[in-house]
Symmetry: C2
Subunit: 150 residues, 2 copies
């Protein structure tokens, strides 16, 4: 179980290991698909995004649409990346602030990020998430109980 | 591209196929890990959850903690399930309302759901999400462009 008494665990019944921030970044920097949560008038929304992580922040592309509108209205976001394996799984949740990258020098740097190289069919912008908090947990999936019988 | 002019696609540059609601449920019913987004005072939060889907709703377990507190304060949630494959990927996003299952008859039904059978170490409750909207999209990852040159 985690060291806190706040049972917020993925599977609240399984053992959980809290990951150090440096371990979180190692996992983030080797991942490429995450989920962005935004909040608009008390309504949460989730968008899967292809991203590029390089400590200390997260970069992704988006084009005109709900995601960009909601980000512009409320830059407070949560961002989640996880991996479900046979023996164990992990999940990293970032809370932070997202903003559109406008500065030409920053755009030039973003252009060199190894984001998925789709053929663009719509104009896009880069969005950068600056984390204010990062939490990673590893879940060990070994404890099974029979569902029937005693 | 999707049939709308609102380019909200996962990878906005790639071709996207909108999935029928019945196809979404087939995928949901064969999946077991999703991400729940809640909103608290304009701050989104994401939690990975093990879930069980049976049309028309989604069931998961949780124990005391932030997730349950935020769900109780604001039951409007978003729930996302995705799969990233070699050739294509899909993502389903549900918007809906979450409530704790209190009725003993409903709890008895939930007890028979094939949720992960961890040994519980903390008291838990069942939470049921009733969708108000469901959207599924399939993304074909075939169009690559060179990043350099012309």
């Amino acid at each position: 179980m985690s060291e806190s008494n706040d049972f917020d665990d993925w599977s609240p019944q399984g053992p959980v290991e809290e990951l150090a921030e440096s371990s979180c970044w190692v996992l983030l920097e080797s991942s490429s698909v995450g989920r962005l949560a935004v909040s608009s008038y008390g309504q949460p929304q989730i968008f899967p995004v292809d991203f590029y992580a390089r400590r200390p922040d997260i970069l992704f592309r988006t084009s005109a649409g709900t995601k960009l509108r909601e980000l512009t209205a409320n830059g407070h976001v949560a961002f989640e990346v996880d991996h479900v394996g046979e023996g164990d799984s992990w999940s990293i949740v970032i809370n932070g602030f997202a903003r559109v990258v406008n500065d030409p020098a920053e755009v030039a740097i973003a252009d060199r990020a190894p984001l998925p190289s789709w053929v663009p069919t719509a104009p896009y912008v880069y969005v950068r998430i600056t984390p204010s908090a990062i939490r990673g947990r590893r879940f060990v999936r070994t404890l099974f109980a029979p569902r029937t019988g005693a």
